[in-house]
């Protein structure tokens, strides 16, 4: 990668300080936008750039903004509840390049004609949140936030809100519930948040990484942005690489970079002479992949990963070597989902509980060979019946694990 778009602190030291950020053109875009551009112009640029939501679903960002209901007030909610196992990209952005992120939020607010943005940060980010409050105060002091910005009649306030440690609050409608002071549980959709969101007002919800792209897209144009990535998945993406890998960390690469390049060129391959066995391309939330040549040559973009039976998601790539028993991986994943299930809908609440019991038995060596089929059947039963994606992720993980690594499970129950 020649140049970072989002992880710009890697190219420009101390960009996390407002002075440095301003010296590098920071908030010039926002100032120009407020003074000289219409909201629609911003939406059009973002639409043309092909930017897609980096939270996991990959929904076209400009399109989402254009769906906003006409009612006022409107809100922008930023999803900084980064909770996916193996995901640590938003944290790096907020810690090291916070002003580019905040400028992105500001531009988004202008495009959405919203006067308030809520930055919803996971509870464990309390120290980061305290710093974010300071950064926001600096923006008020400099006149980038507040009333009648640049004399153009646009008011803008940012609010930081800390979650209480629930994974489900990264689901956008549960995030809104939590912001409203309620138990974090997903809402029924429709209505979608763009029409009926926070406090029943039209609301844009975007991920931290998504919005951090926005200042450069607006200043440099959609064609520039489209020069990275693929046609349907333009731009760059931060790949959070972890697991059995020599050089774990965040890698901002063009979308469409193959798994092989990420793992072996950037990540330095599998340490200790072990072999690559499996890949979790999106933390716990996307089906596990066997590390076949076909998979390794697959481009990491929103279209290609589904073709081999998984999802790009938030691109938190967890590498698993051949010393790892996949039934143990599924046990850990299920334990996570069981812990994080909000309990609102039956299949997820009861299904994760049941699956965990079976996996516990498999893990502890008290399961019978029939239990693997039972596990598969319970997981299949949950599939397609849940209120939100969490239960689908939880069951999808187990279904894929059993289907693709059946022998690991059979070995575990046969050895009793």
């Amino acid at each position: 990668m020649t140049e970072h778009i989002v992880l710009r602190h890697r190219d420009i030291p101390d960009i996390g300080q407002l002075e440095v950020y301003l010296k590098h053109g920071g908030f010039e875009t926002f100032t120009d936008v407020v003074k000289n551009k219409s909201p629609q112009e911003i939406i059009d640029v973002v639409k043309a750039s092909g930017l897609r939501g980096r939270g996991g679903a990959g929904f076209p960002t400009g399109l989402k903004w254009s769906f906003l209901g006409k009612a006022k007030p409107r809100y922008v909610a930023v999803n900084a509840d980064e909770s996916e196992p193996g995901t640590f990209k938003d944290r790096e952005i907020m810690e090291h390049n916070p002003f580019q992120f905040l400028e992105g939020v500001a531009i988004c607010c202008y495009a959405a004609e919203a006067n308030h943005a809520y930055i919803y940060m996971r509870g464990e980010f309390w120290d980061n949140a305290a710093r974010m409050e300071e950064h926001i105060q600096q923006l008020y002091d400099r006149g980038f936030l507040g009333k009648n910005l640049f004399g153009a009649g646009f008011d803008l306030d940012f609010h930081v809100h800390l979650g209480a440690g629930a994974y489900i609050c990264g689901e956008e409608s549960a995030l809104l519930e939590s912001l409203e002071g309620k138990l974090g549980m997903p809402r029924l959709r429709p209505p979608f948040p763009t029409v009926n969101g926070l406090f029943s007002a039209p609301t844009v919800i975007n991920n931290v990484e998504t919005l951090t792209n926005v200042p450069l897209i607006v200043s440099r144009g959609s064609d520039w942005y489209r020069s990275f990535g693929t046609e349907k998945s333009p731009g760059t993406k931060i790949f959070c690489l972890s697991g059995n890998i020599a050089k774990p960390g965040n890698y901002e690469l063009p979308l469409g970079t193959p798994f092989r390049e990420l793992i072996f060129e950037h990540g330095g391959g599998i340490p200790d002479g072990k072999k690559l066995k499996a890949i979790l391309p999106a933390g716990a939330s996307a089906p596990i992949l066997m590390a076949t040549d076909e998979v390794l040559d697959t481009k990491m973009d929103y279209e290609s990963v589904p073709n081999v039976g998984s999802q790009l998601g938030s691109a938190s790539v967890i590498i698993i070597d051949d010393s790892v028993d996949i039934s143990w991986v599924e046990y850990k994943i299920t334990k996570f989902f069981k812990h994080e299930s909000c309990g609102k809908c039956t299949p997820c609440r009861e299904g994760t509980y049941w699956m965990l019991h079976i996996l516990e038995r498999i893990h502890e060596g008290t399961a019978t060979p029939d239990d693997v089929d039972l596990l598969d059947s319970v997981a299949q039963g949950v599939q397609g019946k849940c209120l939100c994606a969490l239960g689908e992720f939880a069951s999808g993980a187990v279904v894929a694990g059993v289907e693709r690594f059946r022998s690991d499970f059979d070995l575990k129950v046969a050895s009793q």
Binding site: L183, C342, G343, K344, T346, G381, V382, G384, L387
Partner: protein
């Protein structure tokens, strides 16, 4: 939107329903049963339990043109989605093809049942819900019959969690459907219970102190689709299949909620048949499927050991049990002898038949019959009461409701609930009250006034509706809203008013309705918030309260006959008058303060022991059925009256309550068309409750015993009345406050106190005072005070509340300080004696 319909095919049956109908309801209307747990037709859908999964096929549309695509034979191409969908959250669509019982749908439903049962304790043999449990029912219908879940891996949770004094939670049985929490939040605006924790640890907790602090808490046990919520009343008391059901009418307030009484022969009651529980009976125009906690729990008075069970006669200043023969003879002789010196006083708790017979007897002997309830205006209700066909559920956008001098939440909770829901639907609510009530937050206009000022405020509003100029500014917007309303219902009460004042308020309200043309049609007119369930029936039977006060009416009486009323309890000075009267007979359930002054006491049957009809404040005549066997020798009021009549020479044809009602119909024009048969007519109303499929997912009862009949107006409305009454100014002098009696739902009345489980919820014995007055009078929060009023002295605790208007003190009725109407009273702190 409302007129648009949608046609779709569900399980091969073509169904046409209004656009916006949920698929689950559309199926039900076609007789197709989709299983549900969390869905409830009276609550917003949430799609939590996932039980109602079905396959939905939608007509395929061309992406460009949006036109329907057809196959070779010209039939629309139907596309089924990859997933099952919840029919409770999905409004129907044109041309859909829905499979509710396909293999895939059934498989999905079976899986949901299996998941639900993994955590369920399956303790049906000891569960109160067993036998009427939707989870049991749906497990039999849709479950797999055996579990693949290891029994030892079941979660064990607390099984006896009191959410309050009235409701218990069994955490193992809860299936987290949120019906209870949604009911509390959406329907009754008491969000005092909710979920805590998450995932499999998700559990219901109460946030209030005292726990589950709501007047409607019992309803959650009806709609709970499992045995998780049970009442303290019924918990572990009986199995549903042992119970007998009888239709009844709630005896507590003028709403007239339809009830089902469940009875059983009870070992711990010497084998007597007793009420085991009270459940709502469906009547969409009256109480829908709800009742308040007073109606549900305050029934233990019927089995109280203190009930009168045999006639008593006073001999040598002592009470002696006597035979009915003797008692009737003594009474008949005395009342006949009294002739025009006979004064009869009857309470609004008695049935129409009782009150009719009572009036006929007293009139027949030349005496004077009075209604004990001191609130006025029943004559105007007869003329401008809400029209037949009124259903508060129909009020919404464009309609208005005016509530005057009444605290509906305390006096008639189900009316409060229905007014609140009308506001939720967009109706304008105008309040004329001297103090804040639980309706304030739903009101579009709140007009404050002094106690006693309500009639003149309503008159001013009425004038303002006719000619907006010259209306005081504070009334302007309200007058405009009321005048513009398509439908207008006026509730009036008696708070802060003497009898003549409430009569004047009724007149002022009637004038307002007449002048604005809101009379004589459905959802228009006057609703009195009477102190008793059948006060309106009393007026209709020809009884009226005295406006001069009972003391003057009883002055010089040669014989006094009191039925179902306890005036001495409200005014101890009347005791002297009763003592002075040559003969007093009291007919009641209990040995009341009044009965203690009698020469003869006659035991009456409680509402559940006898049949009868009652007329609600909305002038709906409803039938109540005999449920319990008589207690001891107690007899129904009408029978006692007619037996006295026979001996005293007043002829009664009536051999039964049915023939007596025929006499009512023949004598009272408004009741002319009514018979016991017509009052028993019903039609199945939506949503269908209590069927075999337990679609309603609860234990509310369907109504097969009669919806009642709303009376038509037989009297000409005529000209609007002129209101002449004005309040006498009562400026509190030093050390004085205006003591205003107020109604509280869980009062300390004789029909409430015997229900032990309500003990902690009963109205506290205190008066409520504004903190500013407290400073002036030297009163302290929680400290005792002395009240001097009309020469009597009472000691009572004082509680300070900002919501009490300055210059007044609120006195809850029935707490031991008698008061009929607002009175100035001297209030002083109790001075602690200085100890040496």
């Amino acid at each position: 939107m409302a007129d648009k319909t949608v046609t779709l095919t569900i399980q091969g049956i073509e169904v046409t329903v209004p656009a916006g109908t949920l698929l689950v309801d559309a199926a039900k209307q076609a007789g197709i049963y989709i299983p549900v747990f969390c869905y409830h037709p009276k609550l917003e859908p949430v799609g939590m339990c996932r039980m109602c999964l079905v396959e939905i096929g939608r007509p395929k549309k061309d992406r460009q043109s949006g036109e329907l695509m057809t196959d070779e034979s010209g039939e629309p191409i139907i596309e089924f989605g990859p997933k099952l969908e919840t029919s409770c959250t999905t409004p129907v669509g044109e041309g859909w093809v829905v499979r509710t019982s396909s293999e895939r749908a059934l498989q999905g439903q079976k899986q949901i049942v299996e998941y639900l049962l993994t955590s369920h304790p399956l303790d049906c043999p000891v569960c109160d819900k067993g036998g009427e449990c939707p989870l049991q029912e749906l497990t039999m219908d849709f479950g797999s019959g055996k579990s693949r879940f290891l029994y030892d891996e079941k979660m064990h949770l607390a099984k006896h969690v009191p959410l309050g004094d009235l409701i218990f939670l069994d955490r193992e049985r809860c299936i987290q459907c949120a019906r209870c929490t949604r009911f509390q939040e959406e329907v009754v605006d008491d969000p005092v219970i909710g979920f805590e924790q998450r995932g499999r640890s998700l559990q219901i907790v109460t946030y209030s102190d005292p726990g589950f602090n709501s007047y409607f808490s019992g309803n959650t046990t009806d709609i709970c689709p499992v045995g998780a919520l049970t009442t303290a009343d019924f918990r572990f008391e009986a199995r549903p299949w042992e119970l007998k059901q009888a239709a009844s009418i709630c005896p507590h307030c003028p709403v007239g909620c339809n009830l089902t009484l469940n009875t059983r022969r009870q070992p711990d009651q010497d084998g007597r048949v007793t009420i085991q529980r009270i459940m709502p009976r469906h009547n969409e125009a009256v109480n829908e499927t709800w009742i308040c906690d007073k109606g549900r729990f305050a029934h233990h008075f019927t089995r109280s050991p203190r009930r009168l069970s045999s006639p008593k006669i006073r001999r040598d200043n002592d009470w002696v049990d006597c035979t009915w023969e003797e008692a009737l003879q003594v009474v008949a002789k005395a009342v006949k002898k009294a002739g025009d010196g006979l004064v009869g006083v009857a309470g609004g708790r008695a049935s129409n038949e009782d009150l009719f017979a009572f009036k006929k007897l007293v009139d027949g002997l030349g005496g004077k019959a009075l209604l004990a309830d001191s609130m006025g205006g029943g004559d105007w209700v007869q003329k401008v009461g809400v029209g037949p066909g009124t259903n508060l559920r129909d009020l919404g956008q464009g309609d208005a409701i005016l509530v005057v001098a009444s605290d509906l939440h305390e006096e008639a909770p189900v009316w409060w609930l229905r007014v609140k829901q009308a506001c939720d639907r967009g109706a304008d609510l105008v309040l004329v009250n001297p103090r804040a009530t639980r309706l304030d937050k739903f009101a579009s206009t709140r007009i404050g006034c002094e106690f006693g000022e309500a009639p003149s405020v309503v008159s001013a509003l009425s004038d303002g509706m006719a000619s907006p100029e010259g209306v005081p500014g504070r009334l302007k917007s309200a007058a405009k809203k009321l005048a513009a309303a398509e439908h207008l219902v006026v509730f009036y009460g008696q708070e802060g008013l003497p009898a003549a004042g409430s009569q004047a308020l009724a007149e002022a309200s009637a004038a307002l309705l007449i002048n604005s043309g809101h009379v004589g049609s459905p959802n228009n007119g006057l609703i009195p918030v009477w102190p008793h369930n059948n006060t309106q029936g009393g007026w209709d039977m020809g009884l009226k309260p005295t406006t001069k006060g009972l003391a003057s009416a009883l002055d010089g009486a040669k014989a006094i006959y009191l039925m179902a009323s306890d005036p001495v309890g409200d005014d101890p000075k009347l005791a002297e008058q009763l003592k002075a009267a040559p003969f007093v007979v009291v007919q009641d359930l209990f040995m009341t303060e009044t009965a203690r002054e009698a020469d003869v006491v006659l035991p009456a049957q409680a509402f559940a022991e006898r049949a009868g009809t009652y007329t609600t404040g909305e002038r709906r005549v409803q039938r109540s059925y005999m449920t319990l066997p008589p207690l001891g020798e107690a007899r129904p009021d009408w029978l006692i009256v007619s037996q006295i009549g026979k001996q005293a020479g007043v002829s009664f044809e009536a051999g039964s309550v049915v023939s007596l009602f025929a006499e009512v119909a023949a004598s009272i024009p408004a009741y002319g068309d009514l018979t016991y048969q017509s009052l028993a007519e019903f039609k199945i109303e939506w949503p269908p409750v209590g069927g075999d499929d337990l679609y309603f997912g609860g234990t509310s009862y369907s109504n097969r015993q009669g919806l009642g009949i709303q009376l038509d107006h037989v009297q000409k409305v005529g000209k609007a009345p002129k209101v002449t009454w004005t309040q006498t100014a009562h400026a509190p002098a030093d050390q004085q406050l205006l003591l205003v009696p107020v109604e509280r739902l869980l009062d300390r009345g004789t029909t409430v106190v015997p229900s032990d489980m309500l003990a902690n919820r009963l109205q506290a014995r205190h008066i409520e005072v504004n903190p500013k007055d407290a400073v002036r009078l030297g009163l302290q929060d929680g400290a005792e005070a002395v009240i001097e009023m009309n020469g009597s002295v009472h000691k009572i605790d004082v509680v300070l509340r900002d919501s009490v208007p300055e210059g007044s003190a609120l006195l809850p009725r029935s707490i031991g300080v008698p008061a009929v109407e607002p009175k100035l009273a001297k209030i002083q702190p109790v001075r602690e004696k200085q100890t040496e």
